[in-house]
Amino acid sequence: MPKKMHIKLNVNGKDEEFLAEPRELLIYTLRERLNITGPHIGCETSHCGACTVTIDGKSVKACTIFAAQADGKEVTTIEGIGGPDDLHPLQNAFKEHHGLQCGYCTPGMITRATKLLEENPNPTEEEIRFGMAGNICRCTGYQNIVKSIQAAATEMNAAKEAAE
């Protein structure tokens, strides 16, 4: 039996320390150890993107990385992006533009979209579809997801301009 590892993560701004087997995947650490259940388990084979989190500035599928690999890194989940009382513009836009139906893919969608808009604040429809290609939705047909991200981009850019 391999020995457990001492792992430190910063999740949504909070330091976490725990002992885990090396084979523990980050998605299980988040959901079962830390009770951070925003990132979902969809396909569990790195296709669907429901488990998407941000690790040190990169969108990563948490089902395809061991917690041990993320040792010492910063992890952001949907819980760190916004909550019921302070919705992120993307969360608000998904709500306003029907960017979700069952909602299962939504935490991964929005977590990925935050990075997409960080890298490209003014994406075209094609750039949104290409940049969101790692996230699968089985309800919406994507049209309203694209619309939501476009609306959030417009709002975020306007807010940034107003602040300047």
């Binding site: 039996m1 391999p2 020995k3 590892m5 087997e21 090396p22 084979r23 995947l25 569990e44 084979t45 790195s46 296709h47 993107g49 998407t52 990169k58 969108s59 990563v60 599928k61 089902c63 395809t64 990385i65 061991f66 041990a68 690999q69 040792d71 990925r112 997409l116 940049g131 969101m132 290609a133 790692g134």
Partner: protein, 284 residues
């Protein structure tokens, strides 16, 4: 999906990596981004009692351009390749191919080293490296050696790299002329049903050199010397395209799988190669 138990190592230097490989032989595997290996471990198709994470080993994350070659460290990710403006200017085919690999999340993690070292015939970089006549540097207890990409692949997941060696660098002669990486896939993120990498040099109205390689149409990537030769000295007209496709079809050996029967794969290979040659020629 939980992989079998393993010991995890994150050595700080290559000596540390090599000593673990020496101690555990083929019970040990190195991992870069892990996006080929971890799915295989979860499916329990790969059993890795000793997993060596390369992320803290320095010196393998750089892209260096010189007057006649490009050196890419094994830990450079597909996203790094896409974002590197000077690389995209010097060898645009690398960016064009990287953009067709998997999806954004996977490209942040997946590395060029893992992609070429894994030996999966579905991976795109091995075929591209045939086209570009790249070489791979591997390091082992006896030091470094360079292996031409065209001699690296022996069979699916079998390569010229020894178990106790680590692939550290990909070196590419600066490509010349027009380029194209064309890939037919069932959906975004999928491996190729067929893909073609083409570089063509034009002088006046004739082709003076060409390099053609195919992905996922045999148990190794295929460099088709005859298809390349079929274009040289021609104006890349319809007859030359037919000859190149015919020569390529002689060199590939697709198998039937969930991407289709053999006849379909041959058909798609021809369509994709025609598109790749035509586009590369238009850019030459």
């Amino acid at each position: 999906m939980i992989p079998a138990a393993f010991e995890y190592y994150r050595p700080k230097d290559m000596d540390g990596v090599l000593s673990i490989l020496e101690e555990h032989g083929d019970d040990a595997r190195v991992m870069a981004g892990g996006h080929s290996l971890i799915p295989m471990m979860k499916l329990r198709m790969a059993d890795v009692p000793h997993l060596i994470d390369l992320q803290d080993v320095g010196g393998m994350s750089d892209i260096e351009l010189t007057a006649d070659s490009i050196r890419i460290g094994a830990l450079v990710t597909q996203a790094d390749i896409i974002d590197h403006a000077r690389l995209a200017a010097a060898a645009p085919i690398l960016r064009e191919a990287a953009l067709q690999i998997a999806d954004p999340q996977v490209r942040y993690m997946g590395t060029i080293g893992g992609n070429v070292a894994n030996g999966d015939p579905g991976n795109d970089m091995p075929g591209l490296m045939q086209c570009l006549n790249a070489s791979f540097t591997v390091v082992g207890a006896d030091g470094e050696r360079d292996i031409p990409a065209r001699e690296f692949y022996e069979a699916a997941y079998m390569t010229a790299r020894e178990d106790e060696e680590v692939l550290t660098t990909v070196t590419i002669p600066l490509p010349k002329g027009g380029y194209a990486y064309e890939k037919q896939k069932r959906k975004i993120g999928d491996y190729a049903t067929a893909a073609a990498a083409v570089q063509i040099v034009k002088d006046g109205s004739n082709c003076v050199s060409a390099s053609i390689a195919m992905t996922n149409l045999s148990d190794t990537p295929i460099y088709s010397e005859d298809a390349s030769a079929a274009l040289v000295g021609t104006a890349v007209d319809a007859a030359a395209l037919d000859a190149a496709v015919a020569a390529m079809l002689e060199d590939i050996d697709p198998t039937e799988d969930n991407r289709g029967p053999i006849a379909f794969k041959n058909h798609v290979a021809g369509v994709i190669l025609r598109r790749a040659i035509t586009r590369a020629w238009s850019r030459a």
